[in-house]
């Protein structure tokens, strides 16, 4: 019927709100579905996992229809691995038997299933935790066990449902880095469902923004930032995110430029975020108290009549937002050379 390798979902369901989402995730691709609480993310996850039948639409995985109006493949026969936000480990089993659970359910003999589980735990640096009751694991360890459990069944689709929402800030960063590392090279479609734009931007190749049950915009993080098609997208994802390394009071960015910051965050790899409204544009070198100031060239301008988003060029590729009045005052146009300034306090630093 449909030979697309990966997930092809057209999910329409009514569960309080009306969910109407079309989304494709190719094998090996990472897509983030980002949206506020109540946007319908959980319903979408349930539809993919086979926990909730569709009203209309379809879910197709590697060309096989899992759900449409005429058939419904129950969860147990789907091979959709889900890392649940609340993990849902089985508290009466140890870490190894949690990981072996799916294999046992698939008829793998106990000894073999446990051997495979031990392999996974070993790969996730949890070999010494295999016999621990899962209630005694730390938050990060428990999450790795849950991921190992989801991957052990060799799923055809991996869904990560708010994987860091329950973790503290420091563990969040470690976990994100760890997830990126261990999921790199996984040749199945990977879908991250999150309310956190930073998580979406740092994890995914492509982002779909879900608001009130519909995808309002879809594209790379950069595309969404430069041309947000919706106020919500602008607010949620319009922020500038830059990877770098923090040393003392400054962050050295990937292209070599650096920004002065005012943050108590520990030194090391970080992501800095700057709101587009936090950047000031000037015709001439500014005489402000702002610690960061540099000159650059305007790359492009997106103007929807209410707000103007100005994409800036090297040395730091950022998007600034100004009012239409300011646009004319500054005579902004692609190619114009201008000065940019930014207070250190406008720059948020997140551990990466």
């Amino acid at each position: 019927m449909n030979q697309f390798a990966g997930l092809d979902a057209d999910v329409q369901a009514r569960r309080g709100l009306v969910l109407d989402v079309q989304l494709r995730v190719a094998a090996g691709e990472r897509v983030a579905l980002v949206g506020p609480n109540g946007a319908g993310k959980s319903t979408f996850v349930d539809s993919l996992a086979g926990l909730l039948p569709l009203d209309t639409g379809h879910v197709t995985l590697d060309g096989v229809v899992l759900d449409d109006r005429s058939r419904f493949t129950p969860s147990a026969q789907r091979a959709v691995g889900v890392l649940f936000q609340d993990l849902r480990l089985f508290n009466h089993l140890d870490a190894r038997d949690n990981v072996a659970f799916g294999l046992r359910a698939r008829g793998v003999r106990k000894a073999h299933a446990r051997a495979i589980a031990d392999d996974w735990l070993d790969r996730f640096s949890l070999a010494n935790r295999a016999r621990q009751p899962v209630t005694l694991l730390s938050g990060g360890e428990a999450q790795r066990v849950a991921l190992a459990r989801a991957l052990a069944i060799e799923p055809r689709l991996l869904v990560l449902d708010e994987p860091t929402a329950a973790l503290d800030v420091q563990t969040k960063a470690t976990t994100r880095r760890w997830l990126r590392e261990h999921l790199a090279g996984l040749a199945i479609p990977q879908l991250l469902v999150t309310h956190d734009p930073i998580e979406a931007a740092t994890f995914a190749d492509r982002i779909a923004v879900l608001v009130d049950g519909r995808v309002v915009q879809e594209g790379t993080a950069d595309e969404l930032r430069r041309v947000p098609r919706d106020r919500y997208v602008a607010d949620l994802l319009g922020g500038n995110l830059l990877a770098g390394r923090k040393i003392g009071g400054s962050v050295t960015l990937e292209r070599g430029a650096s920004l002065l910051v005012a943050s108590e965050c520990a030194d090391g790899p970080v992501v800095v975020s700057v709101a587009p409204q936090g950047l000031s544009l000037h015709r001439d070198r500014p005489a402000t108290s702002a610690r960061n100031a540099w000159s650059t060239v305007v790359r492009s301008i997106a103007d929807d009549g209410h707000r103007v988003r100005v994409a800036l060029g090297l040395p730091i590729e950022l998007v600034a937002e100004v009012t239409p009045a300011a646009r004319y005052e500054l005579a902004l146009a692609p190619g114009t050379t201008i000065w940019v300034s930014c207070k250190a306090t406008e720059i948020a630093v997140h551990p990466a």
Binding site: D46, A49, G50, L51, P74, S75, A76, Q77, R78, A79, V80, G81, V82, F84, D86, L87, R88, L89, F90, N91, H92, L93, F101, G102, A105, R106, V134, T135, L137, S138, G139, A142, R149, A150, I153
Partner: protein, 275 residues
Amino acid sequence: MSPRRRAPVATIPTGVAAIAIAASLLLFGLPLLGLVWRTPWSDIGTVLGDEASRDALRLSLVCSLTATAVSIVLGLPLAWLLAQRRFPGRSALRAITTLPLVLPPVVGGLALFFAFGRRGLVGQWLDRWFDIQLPFTVWAAILAETFVAMPFFVLTVEGALRNRDGRAEAAAATLGARPLRVFTRVTLPAIRGSLYAGAALTWARALGEFGATITFAGNFPGRTQTLPLAIYLAFQGNQPAALVLSVLMVVVSVVVIVVVGGRVLARRSSPVGVA
């Protein structure tokens, strides 16, 4: 993942504590004390040495344990079914299941006659085709005890199943477990405290069963005369024996409560389930 902490329980007002203690001592402790006070302890050897007494104890244990086992085997599917969100006829099914809790046991015994007796709905065919007569047999005693005690298991377990939010079950399903496996490997371990509690209640009820048993199974030493029946009949004649048997009954019940119930209560106070 760490066990949930419980909010510290507010201190109980002294007056309330006093009422609680007074109530339990007066209502439960005092009759027990009276029983012990009136028991002719010098007769204890004679009565317990009597074969009829030992038969009654043995029968009580055999019948009540068998009734508990049957209640678990039949009650678990029933509890599972009743705990479903909704299906046609569920309230009717629950009403039928709950009925033995409300019905006087004697009525239950009569009803069993009309179903399984020689002239009963099913019993007449059992008699005619297979020459099986249930009344007045040990099977009748077990059936009567199961009839009266099984609702305790079903309702306890159904309550526990209803309290499940289904999240761990959903996770198990995504891992490839079919409904029966999800139930046996995820749900049941998570509610094991309630399973023990339900089984203990069922056993206790079956052990003390009197009315339905004496009606449907009759009273014959060594075959259907369980301890409660032996006590009742002893009271008609040999009262000292009745008192000794009563004390024996109390001891057996206390063992059930302490050994099983105590463990269950300890388990239940710690959160059971999937975080």
